[in-house]
Structures are given as structure tokens and as C-alpha cells.
């Protein structure tokens, strides 16, 4: 991997542009995505920026069970995105169809129409869960691109009982 490519990959992980697409969702997931970008959680501190055009985006967040009318448009928009592109299915509907499984006009999950990189379940997932999912995706991407930062020390799994006995975590 050349130096320039490495730089580009590093920049890519540091500031992913996301595009939000609604494929027939109930709006619950959409407001939670927006809430994740709003002052309280501020997803922008990871460099994430919401853009309005698929051509600018690296990551597409999709909500909803994919209705029949939306499917061709979803596929066309997916093709419009520049490589490398990643798709995140947000919400139970986008993961598997959710409550709309069995409806005559839904496909049941984004992965029935286009390939999906990550799934964030929940109906709707909390903004914290969306932040966590986005963070995890970035971690995986930086490993895949070979630009992961070297860990200085081994990560210790968070021990809830120890934390509780010290009074750090709430019971």
C-alpha cells in the first residue's frame, strides 16, 4: 500500500460521510439517527457528517423494510455511491423486516436488495446504540484498511460487578 493510499484510508476512517436513506420506515429510526447527530450525543465528534447526496457518501444508513416501490430506487442509489461503500441497516425493520414481515409490499430487510455491512438492531435503536454501531464499524474499517491505531495497553473488559462494588456504576 502506497503512502498516499494509506493517507486516504486514514482520512476515510477519520471522517466518514454518511447518507441517510428511508426505505419505507416508520420514522422512528430516522428521528433517532437525527437525535444521535444532535447536541446530546453528537456523532460528529467521530468525524461523521451527514450529507445530502449519495455521491458524496461513504456510508449509507438505511431504515425500513424496503417496500416494492423503493427497491429500484434503493438499488440505483447504491450504484451511485462511490467505492468503497458500506451499508448499515438501522433498526429491526432494516435488519429483517421487523413487524412488517409478511406484508405483501415489503421485501423484509435491506439485505434482500443490496449487500449490507453492518446491522444495528432495535426498534428503534437508541441514539447510544447507533453511536456504538457507528463506532464499531469505524473500528472494523480501520482494521480492514490497515490503519488501526496500535493499542498501547491490552483492553480490559469492563467488569460491571467490580465497578458496582466501587460505586462507579449505578445499580
Amino acid at each position: 500500500m502506497g503512502f498516499l493510499q494509506k493517507l486516504i484510508n486514514k482520512a476515510r476512517v477519520k471522517s466518514p460521510y454518511v447518507f441517510h436513506f428511508n426505505s419505507g420506515s416508520c420514522n422512528g429510526c430516522d428521528i433517532e439517527i437525527l437525535a444521535a447527530l444532535m447536541p446530546r450525543l453528537d456523532l460528529e465528534r467521530f468525524g461523521v457528517k451527514l450529507v445530502g447526496s449519495p455521491r458524496h457518501a461513504d456510508i449509507m444508513l438505511i431504515t425500513g423494510p424496503v417496500t416494492e416501490q423503493i427497491r429500484p430506487r434503493l438499488q440505483r442509489i447504491y450504484e451511485q455511491m462511490a467505492e468503497p461503500k458500506f451499508v448499515v441497516a438501522v433498526g429491526s425493520c432494516a435488519c429483517s423486516g421487523g413487524v412488517f414481515r409478511g406484508g405483501y409490499n415489503v421485501l423484509g430487510g435491506v439485505d434482500q436488495a443490496i449487500p449490507v455491512t453492518a446491522y444495528i438492531p432495535g426498534c428503534p435503536p437508541k441514539p447510544t446504540a447507533i453511536t456504538f454501531g457507528a463506532y464499531k464499524l469505524l473500528e472494523v474499517l480501520s482494521k480492514a484498511f490497515g490503519v488501526a491505531e496500535k493499542k498501547e495497553k491490552e483492553e480490559v473488559p469492563f467488569d460491571i460487578t467490580a465497578a458496582q462494588s466501587e460505586g462507579v456504576a449505578e445499580t
Binding site: P65, T67, E68, Q69, S96, G97, F100, R101, G102, G103, Y104, N105, V106, L107, G108, G109, D111, Q112, A113, I114, P115, V116
Partner: protein
């Protein structure tokens, strides 16, 4: 499903406690009695609900009469029903001054599902009449702007998904019950 079952869904209320509703219904009956069909006409047990069934060819006249005489300008919605031999259209209105919700309904035979549209006198009915035509195949004749609004473009013109006898001929309802990603080309 026979018509016998439908009769039992009507649960008329007692006169006391529903004086306003009965007053309205009796006035309508005395003035337009000849076009009202008794079967589905009653005061519901819920407060402020009146259901009136009329002859399908007289729908426009009746709506005009209600608008002029009773100030019925607020249109809520239109819902269809499949009764077996007949298809039913329920126009839900609300009379704001008297605070009574009036449902006007007509039964149209399944073999000849057509009646006169009321969109020109009730502009708010434009979208719902289109929807009714798509979902039940009940055609409002004279609709100024007939077009497809809910179903996908490739949906066959002779399938109406909300009719009871729609049996999902293309396996659409099974399709979404899949697990795991599909091969995407």
C-alpha cells in the same frame, strides 16, 4: 360471508343519552326517508356517532343535502369493506356545529362495482377515492384525476389486495418471511 353476519354488527343505542343523535337521524329520515336503507342506519352506542345507509345512486344528492342543510363540511375519510356479494364504501364526515360524526355508506354489487364520485363537491375526497379504487376495485365514476397512488407500478390492474378473496397469487406475503441475506447480483 353472508349478509346475515353483517346484521349483527349493528348495535343501536338506547334513546336516552343520545337525544342529539336521534334528533338528527329522525330529521334526516323525515326529509330524505325515501333514499335511506333501514338496514345499516342507526345511532351507535358510542357517543356522537350516526351511521346512515343510502341508495348508491343517490349518494351525491344526499351529500349535497347534508352540506346545505346541516353544515357538514368536514370530511374525515373513506373506508371500504368487503361484504361478500357487495362492496361497501363508508364516507366518514363530521358535523362540527352539532359535534356528531356521520358515516354515509353505500353498498355496491361486486359484479358491477361503480358509483358516482363526490370529489367535485367534496374536494378532500380526491386521494381516498383513488385509494379505494386501487384497494377494493370500487370505481368512483367521474373522478377528476384517476391515477395510481398506493400500489407499485407493476401491480396487476385486476388484483385488489384488501378484498377478502385476494389469495396472494404471487407469494408476496411469504417473500418477506426470509432469513439471511439473499444473493445479490
Amino acid at each position: 360471508m353472508s349478509n346475515q353476519d353483517n346484521v349483527s354488527i349493528f348495535r343501536p343505542a338506547l334513546e336516552e343519552g343520545h337525544e342529539d343523535e336521534y334528533a338528527l337521524l329522525n330529521q334526516i329520515k323525515s326529509e330524505m326517508g325515501d333514499i335511506i336503507i333501514e338496514e345499516g342506519t342507526y345511532v351507535h352506542i358510542q357517543p356522537r356517532r350516526v351511521f346512515i345507509q343510502i341508495r348508491p345512486d343517490k349518494l351525491r344528492d344526499f351529500v349535497k343535502y347534508m352540506q346545505e342543510k346541516h353544515g357538514m363540511w368536514q370530511f374525515s375519510t373513506l373506508s371500504g369493506r368487503d361484504l361478500g356479494n357487495d362492496l361497501q364504501a363508508n364516507y366518514h364526515f363530521f358535523i362540527n356545529d352539532k359535534k356528531i360524526a356521520v358515516t354515509i355508506r353505500i353498498n355496491v354489487p361486486r359484479t358491477m362495482p361503480e358509483y358516482q364520485s363526490i370529489t367535485d363537491i367534496v374536494p378532500a375526497a380526491e386521494f381516498v377515492e383513488n385509494e379505494l379504487r386501487e384497494m377494493f376495485g370500487l370505481v368512483p365514476v367521474g373522478h377528476p384525476n384517476p391515477r395510481r397512488c398506493e400500489l407499485p407500478e407493476n401491480w396487476p390492474a385486476d388484483e385488489f389486495p384488501l378484498r377478502k378473496d385476494w389469495q396472494d397469487p404471487r407469494g408476496l406475503m411469504k417473500r418477506s418471511q426470509t432469513t439471511g441475506p439473499k444473493e445479490v447480483k
